[in-house]
């Protein structure tokens, strides 16, 4: 009985944690931003997006596992990250971003400084 109570507690905590932190997959502005990571390129479909919830669909067309980051204007602070994007996979990264200057970054092979490009978040609605 003790176990059951504990288990249901765990489930509840996990559920609450996950759900309250859930964000809408599709931002108000509509479509997700497409990112294509290859061994030496990081192609982002747009250079700016309205503030709010941003969804990046990152696909790996290289042959090494890759990671994708949204970095702050200092190119260091991590705003969002998705790891373990194996070759041939597409993974989703959801972040809430306010107006400002950012950098996108792909990290093929999971090492090094990454392939960075500036990204602007404009004032939403």
């Amino acid at each position: 009985m003790k176990t059951q109570r504990l288990v249901s507690l765990c489930t509840a905590v996990l559920a609450a944690g996950a759900f309250t932190a859930c964000t809408d997959n599709d931002s108000a502005s509509g479509d997700a931003i497409e990112v294509t990571s290859t061994n030496d390129e990081c192609i982002v479909s747009v250079e700016e997006a309205p503030s709010g919830t941003l969804t990046f669909n990152v696909s790996n067309e290289g042959d090494k596992p890759t990671e994708f980051y949204l970095l702050g204007s200092d190119e260091q602070q991590i705003v969002g990250e998705v790891e373990n994007i194996g070759p041939g996979l597409e993974r989703k990264m959801v972040v809430t971003a306010s107006e400002g200057d950012y950098f996108t970054s792909c990290k093929p092979g999971m090492t090094g400084d990454g392939i960075k490009a500036p990204f602007t978040v404009t004032h939403g609605d």
């Binding site: 003790k2 176990t3 964000t23 809408d24 596992p65 991590i78 041939g88 989703k92 959801v94 999971m110």
Partner: protein, 287 residues
């Protein structure tokens, strides 16, 4: 191949911890608790796959902040639990060498709850990330089944290694078994702690993400098979921050001596009862 290595890395740590837990229950004659381990594993797998599917196919995604927070909290809980497991094992080693009347302590120390929670955390810590990775493979299966196949094979090899560890550990001499599995777990826990610290640094909760103590990414690329094994078992990161290194060393500096003290107490001569090997001579020999 790359997806195979990711699958392997994600599954190794859980396989290692669960493998040792199972071996431990077998060695201490607590096979009755084994089913609780499997309940725990099944529960963690179900929750992870369920949430993973919801986040992949459902209308909502998990924000980065929430994912990091969840990862950080689960890591710290896992460290606490593995540490507890190490000392629980050390104490039991002592009890086992002692008298039979301590059997009661043994039963009290290892209940279904603790065993199950341990299994849930061991598998659940990286469970969601692994599930998201698997579902990404399933999604891509329309174009190519290679990524999914690689990922599943990697996980399968990790699970097979877990079973091999159980088999090997069960054959070890009892004293060696307790010492080696515990030392291994101490290093696993230290790695998980450092990993949790790194998560919190990434989330911006802790500073120093970019002040690296060392960077051996050139020598040990994280996408190589040896980088994978080191990351999967000990959570070794080729680019380690000063804070991670400090916390890792501090954990070892505290836990290793504590453990060796517990073991030494377990080995003191008082508890090693004399073996009753002498068979009384039989006077009346059959004619």
């Amino acid at each position: 191949m790359a997806n195979f290595l990711i699958g392997l890395r994600e599954g190794l740590e859980a396989a290692l911890v669960v493998g040792i837990l199972v071996a431990y229950l077998i060695r201490t004659d607590r096979r009755d608790l084994l089913r609780w381990v499997w309940y725990g594993v099944a529960l963690a797998v179900a929750i992870s796959l369920g949430f993973g599917a919801l986040l992949t196919y459902g209308p909502r995604g998990l924000s980065f902040e929430a994912q990091e927070a969840l990862g950080g909290v689960l890591s710290i809980l896992a460290v606490g639990l593995i540490t507890w497991m190490i000392f629980w094992m050390a104490r039991t080693a002592r009890t086992l060498r002692g008298e039979l009347q301590h059997k009661l302590d043994l039963a009290a120390a290892a209940g279904p709850t603790s065993v199950m929670v341990m299994a849930v955390l061991a598998v659940g810590r990286e469970g969601l990330e692994t599930a998201l990775f698997l579902w990404a493979g399933a999604k891509a299966a329309g174009e190519s089944t290679d990524p999914l196949l690689g990922a599943v094979l990697g996980l399968a090899v990790a699970i097979a290694l877990g079973f091999a560890i159980t088999k090997g550990a069960v054959r070890l001499d009892l004293g060696k078994f307790f010492t080696w599995t515990a030392v291994l777990l101490i290093f696993v826990a230290a790695g998980v702690l450092a990993y949790g610290i790194h998560d919190l640094q990434e989330a911006g909760v802790l500073p120093g993400l970019n002040s690296l103590a060392f960077d051996v990414s050139e020598q040990i690329p994280p996408s190589s098979w040896y980088g994978t094994l080191l990351k999967g078992t000990l959570n070794f990161s080729p680019a380690t921050t000063w804070l991670e290194l400090t916390v890792w060393l501090s954990y070892l500096a505290v836990v290793l001596p504590m453990f060796s003290r517990t073991v030494r107490r377990a080995n003191d001569p008082g508890s090693s009862s004399s073996a009753m090997t002498a068979v009384p001579a039989n006077r009346g020999a059959p004619v």
